[in-house]
Amino acid sequence: MGFQDFWATITEPRVLASYKLSFLTALTAAFVNAVFGVLIAWVLTRYEFPGKRIIDGLVDLPFALPTAVAGITLTTLYSPNGWIGQFFSFKIAFTPVGIIIALIFIGLPFVVRMVQPVLENIEKGMEEASASLGANRMQTFIKIIFPELIPAILTGFALSFARALGEYGSVVFIAGNMPFKTEISPLIIMTKLEQYDYEGATAVAAVMLIITFIILFTINILQWWTGKRYSGK
């Protein structure tokens, strides 16, 4: 395959649409996971409530449950007449929203498990000092605790994002797989493989690999930069 064929394959409108869809849904899901991940980690390390141990163990369910099982279950729940889908006036399964839900499920544990140990190890003394200097709880969180968490959040975000970008098993069921609308990049690779278009599949895969590495590289730099800035090393 020459460069021109390669370029034609990876800039085909259908393929471009899939990059955009994969990128945006993965980004949204990773963002939601970052926000709720910090919240879950916070509640699990700081508060006491009945059933906490069970909840703590359950957070890892997405790692233990096969993605295909997650895929068919979420599709059934969020389809228009499913347990959850029936309460919404708009369609969730077979739209990008459904894809995002599957990706949130898949990436849920990453941020929680990165942030949790950091929160456990923050010295109470710092928070006490901050409070005794007159900061309220919100100020202490934003100025003292949150900066400590940033590297862990970024790592969790990156892992969750990379996983979401490449995810296939859970998404393929809930997406509906309509070209230009709900067709993710891994599915394009799969379709091309099934048509024995190995060169086309490889071209699309190469672009995805490059995008993944750029993202991981950027996050690494960000992490290094925030680490330097906040820890004063």
Partner: protein
């Protein structure tokens, strides 16, 4: 609450320090409720749904779906893949972690990055790599064909893809653990005259046994559940190269929803057992602070 603490700050600064590192109870309960609602919606409801849907057509249909020859074949194949992949990756993982933590050499960071690679590569791309390598038109295709060895669309391909996908699990659990333990105990053992293997067996292994088990459990869950990579290399031959997740996909696409969920429920029971063992290990070792998954 807010107003009171402002007043308190003005008059009696001692009073705020008492509760200064805790949020008011009301905020605590709001945050706890939000988390519980979120986790119920995303984790608990799907888990319940699997079992309800599995038994929708009664227990008889449930057991018929599990005892179906294709399902049994899929369960057997998944077990075979686990039995080959898991010991290999346990050995690879220990060797990799041992090499990285007990020796100094150039390119160590590069090796660590390389070990992490399968985590960031899409499973579909992982499968594609092996099709390009071992497929009929792949780099090694003609050679394999002349030797009459079939890799892609047969069991060896599924095993190789599973090894690739789950390779990092054990190494990544062990590296931070072995790093924090250092090499002094091994050095002591060697000074006292124990050989390399003896040192590993009596000193290193007991130290890492829980971390190893933890990695094995996670690795095992992923091998059983792997879908994307296996889907690319398996060829979906019923009763031959269909693992459990692929069998679920076929049943689902044929609108045999109850049967699909019956097989899915088996896998879910397994996932729950995995979580219980994992929580047990965490409780046993307080391993959590060194865990970097």
């Amino acid at each position: 609450m807010e107003d009171k603490s402002v007043v308190a700050k003005a008059n009696h600064p001692v009073i705020i320090t008492r509760n200064a590192t805790k949020e008011p109870k009301s905020i605590q309960w709001i945050l706890i409720s939000v988390v519980l609602l979120f986790l119920t919606l995303f984790l608990v409801v799907p888990l319940i749904a699997i079992f309800v849907k599995a038994f929708e057509k009664g227990a008889e249909a449930y057991f018929a779906a599990i005892a179906h020859p294709d399902a049994v074949a899929a369960i057997k194949l998944t077990l075979i893949v686990v039995l080959i992949t898991l010991p290999l990756n346990a050995i690879f993982g220990v060797v990799a972690a041992w090499t990285i933590t007990k020796y100094d050499f150039k390119g160590k960071n590069f090796l660590i990055t390389l070990i992490d690679l399968p985590f960031s590569v899409s499973p579909v791309i992982a499968g594609l790599i092996f099709v390009l390598l071992f497929g009929l038109h792949g780099t090694l295709g003609p050679l394999l064909q002349s030797l009459d060895i079939k890799v892609i669309f047969s069991i060896p391909g599924i095993v190789i893809a599973s090894i690739f996908i789950t390779f990092p699990f054990i190494a990544r659990e062990l590296i931070p653990l072995m790093q924090s333990q250092g090499t002094s105990e091994e050095e002591a053992s060697l000074t006292l005259g124990a050989g390399g293997f003896k040192t590993f067996w009596y000193v290193t292994l007991p130290n890492i046994k829980w971390g190893l088990l933890y990695g094995v459990i996670l690795c095992n869950a992923r091998i059983i559940g792997e879908f994307g990579a296996v889907s690319v290399v398996s060829g979906h031959i019923r009763g031959m190269t269909n693992t459990m997740p692929l069998h679920i996909e076929i049943l689902y696409n044929e609108y045999q929803f109850s049967a699909a969920f019956a097989v899915a429920s088996l896998m879910s029971i397994f996932a729950i057992i995995t979580l219980i063992i994992k929580s047990f290990i965490e409780w046993k070792t307080d391993f959590k602070s060194t865990k970097a998954s």
